[in-house]
């Protein structure tokens, strides 16, 4: 199959002012296999060696790695390396598909049996901890709702609106910033853009999920020298976007931060209702005092594997 190959390195470092006596961490750092994404190789390296390491699938089908440290340590370094191959997005006509009103109504309870696809979608249309359902979000999406329009074209319009009306600003928000504040201030990071789009779609009754992963960015200067491997190390960051349930096309991914349809530049790690379900690394530590967090992400195009 023709496709693009990427090498991704996601390096997370915690440096603690004091010693951490004990800690539990939960990682969502293993790429998902999808119809268009194939994981060719993957490895998570952890330093210091955890006293325990296990893996399980969560309710959304993501691979979760749990680690525990029972010896005092002053730093934690988690490096996830992966090699994935992405197939191109097939030709899509966003205008195609069932009208959004009909999908909205079918996502509601009707006392009938449902197929797995619809059941899956129903998981992603309610409120979740980071995505409240509010009149304000519905009003925000109101002018994207042309009567009879397909779900994909509604989603496309909402994406364009979020992208146009919100300013991307690194450090403008933190994880705990409520989405209502983001809506009021009209700025945030990719996570906020994704949550905004999800909240708008769910508030009108559609199903949308949060996808965490990486984006391959083009760097003109690197391209100019055209030397392989000249891309700036660690200049990338983890990314987040939105997948929308648009029958009969299935789930279609939109990147509201960049206003584009997800094709061959997004590597998906995990998905859930919102950021809280899939945060790359989440932990509870005992002791440690203040800490410094450094996250470095590198996404490099690599040679295509022989097929």
């Amino acid at each position: 199959m023709s496709g693009v190959c990427y090498l991704v390195r996601h390096d997370t470092q915690y440096e603690y002012a004091g010693e951490v006596a004990h800690s539990h961490q939960q990682l969502h750092l293993t790429p998902r296999e999808t119809e268009r994404q194939q994981c060719l190789a993957h490895r998570i390296e952890i330093n210091p060696e955890p006293s325990r390491r296990t893996e399980h699938l969560d309710a959304f089908g993501n691979i979760v790695t749990r680690i525990e440290f029972d010896k005092p340590h002053g730093r934690l370094d988690v490096v996830s390396d992966m090699r994935v191959q992405l197939a191109p997005l097939p030709e899509l006509d966003l205008e195609e598909g069932e009208p959004w009103e009909s999908v909205r109504d079918q996502l509601c309870y009707n006392a009938q049996s449902r197929t797995v696809h619809w059941l899956e979608a129903m998981r992603f249309r309610g409120e979740s901890p980071y995505v409240r359902i509010k009149r304000q979000f519905r009003e925000f999406a109101a002018d994207c709702l042309s009567p009879g329009a397909s779900v994909a074209s509604v989603a496309n319009a909402v994406m364009a609106k979020v992208n146009a009306e919100f300013r991307y600003e690194q450090g403008a928000t933190e994880i705990a910033t409520p989405l209502m504040d983001v809506l009021a201030n009209r700025c945030g990071v990719c996570q906020d853009f994704a949550h905004m789009m999800i909240a708008s779609l769910r508030s009108v009754g559609l199903a949308a999920r949060y996808v965490s992963g990486y984006l391959h960015t083009h760097r003109p200067q690197a391209a100019a020298t055209s030397e392989p491997g000249a891309e700036v190390l660690g200049a990338d960051a983890s990314h987040a976007w939105v997948a929308v349930f648009a029958p009969p096309l299935g789930w279609i991914s939109f990147d509201p931060t960049n206003n584009l349809l997800v094709d061959q530049e997004h590597v998906a790690l995990a998905w859930g209702r919102d950021f809280g379900d899939v945060s790359p690394l989440r932990g509870v530590i005992l002791g440690g005092g203040s800490h410094q967090l450094t996250v470095k992400v590198t996404v490099e195009k690599s040679a295509e594997p022989a097929t």
Partner: protein, 822 residues
Amino acid sequence: MRSIADTQPMLYAGSQQRYDELLERDGTIRAHWDPLIKHLSKGGAETARRTVEMTRRLIIENGVTYNVYADPQGRDRPWQLDPLPLMIEAREWRALESGVRQRAQLLNALLADLYGSQSLIARGVVPAELAFGHPNYLWAAHGTRPLGGTWLHLYAADIARAPDGRWWVLSDRTQTPSGPGYALENRAIISRVLPGLVNETATRALTGFFHRLRESLACFVDDNNPPLMVVLTPGPFNETYFEHAYLARHLGLPLVQGQDLTVRGDTVYMKTLSGLKRVHAILRRLDDDFCDPLELRADSALGVPGLLGVVRAGRVTLANALGSGVLESAGWLGFLPGAAEALLGESLQLPSVATWWCGEKPALDYVIENLDRLVIKQTFPNQRFDACFGRDLDEAEQRHLIARLRSRPYAYVGQERISLSQAPSWRAGANVRLTPRTLTMRVYAIATQDGYEVMPGGLARIAAEGVVDIVSSQRGGGSKDVWVLSDPEAGAEPAQIHGTAANDALVGSGYRRHDELPSQLVENLYWLGRYSERCEDKARLLRATLAVRTNADIWKAARAECVRQGVLDADDEPNESLYDDEQPFGLAGDLGRLGWCATQSRSLLSAEHWRSIIVIQRHFQEAGASMADPLETLDRLLVSLTSLSGFALDDMTQDDGWRMLMLGRRLERIQFLASLLSARLESSEPMRQAELEWLLDIGGVSITYRTRYVSAPQLAPALQLLIFEDASPRALAYQWRKVGRTLSSLAVSIGAISDHELEAPVAQLSAAGTEGVEEEGEVGAERREWLAAALSELAAAAGRVSDRIALRHFSLVDRGVRILAS
């Protein structure tokens, strides 16, 4: 049956609109109330008044409280209990019991389906919205399977009786049903205020019921250790903390907070004095999403990080299972008949109050059409919508509400209002009489190996007077004991048999009450010991000082000592300082801290021990409010404080927790007395008679001195008595000897390192002795200085022992748990 006409005037007239629990439609008394009414009419007004008064007093003294979040007056408010029980006849109870049992079974099966295959959602029997939109539906718990397949260990149904006499379920409690502890305490109090009547009426007993819960939790132990079960509480600020402590004590289980537990690997442990001990089961009073900050709410400091991992590994039983709160929504009510058919193949026995979930179009239309006769409620507990009666809204408000329903229909339900039944309650006043109050009842079921078992009784809640159809403890209602009469057809009483048989079985299988104590609890006991002693010492110091107020010789020095200890403010009048709880080291503040430590270790104190601490606080506050004479207050205070040491000695199991409490008392005593004596000896003046009398008074040995020496106090024999007399519990020598012994026992029982910290200063003190301290001039001054230095070193060493204990035994108490995310 007697007619109302020939009874006393205390009866009220029945109601046409409601079912009356006491009166038949024709005004005659229902037969099963007869013994109770007879008993009441025998006693007359005076007995009634005494009964009401005794109920009130027992509640306060037993410390039965309910925290009201919105109450600016403070955290605890006394529980309200009406002395008249609600009587329920056996035949009626049989039907209720069977209905509640079936419902518990149904809800358990529903939970298993929602967290497993979700087949009911797939088949359209129940709406996905109700589960997935509920904040207590924990996706992280999806796919977990609790041991034995039991999600619901403790279930409660809130029920009410409609005018036609049928009972209806108003709501289901599936997360951490509160109230069973109050129900037990209500019974304990009412059987005291109406003595004999429980037996006379053949009311079924409640004892033993919850022990069955403990037994069934212990069933899943998968190792050879004695089962360790704990009660997990969010802490003393929770509205029902009284009950958490009560249940823990009733069941003989340790009461723990999140930080008392820790997850290592796939096992959860309790941090105890002697290290980590595996926990097999947790009876939790902590909400679902607060239980594990690693996977659930990250902003919760109350939970146990990693707990869900232990659940996933099937290594701990949670009662109730994590995520069981999802069924607490009025939205489910209308779908339960279908679920009962689908899951049990049965029809639902106990009906729910008619409820329309607006997520279905026809239901929404119906609700809007019938707004005037319905209550509108939120579907999910995290919405901020106050339930309202449609008919109470004006036209604009109704339009607004309808718009709201249309925009997010699945988030609302319309519910029929039930005209609640009424039962007599006793109103105390100039003339005692019965008044009708509307009521609802909470009935409990527990999972046992033989299926669900229903508690033969319950917690009836009555509306505040004048309020008819809203019953809420938060809104000032009250409670009633529920008396279920024995079934003459059933023969022996089932609950009793279970209780006894079960207890025998426990004894037979070598079950013992677990003597492991969480280290945090023991730390609180240790501080309870310190504060009990500290309050006593300070009260003695203050009383002895106020007693010499008119003696110019000593008043200044004595007062200075009080100021040094922080008991008096240099500029204030003594009685102002005494009652001032803002004085950082004052007695009022220390009494408050004593109460706090007692609250924290309440599950280990006997009812009397706890009560006496409450009484001390109440009396002191009353004295403060009336600015009572300080000497009189201190006299009374000392009597009560001395009784605390009696409780400590005679009323507690002498385990390691008790040893820590006593250690706290003794170290406090050593620090106080040694530093006081040292300070007095250091002052250049040799002590005069008045000062010695003052010191002997503080030391509590005036009488001993007088009987032994007859003459006026001399320095050497006084010091001998205060320091070296090792037969006197008031002397330092007695205390350090006991400290040494306690530390040795702890060394054996919990592998503590024996502490020799006190040995050197004790040797130094003994070498110094009291010889020559009375000499005039240089020689005497030198001897006194030597002794003062040794005493001061002893006080410091006692402080070091205390620090070591904290480091060695309480260090497992985590401080500074933080949550990270990237």
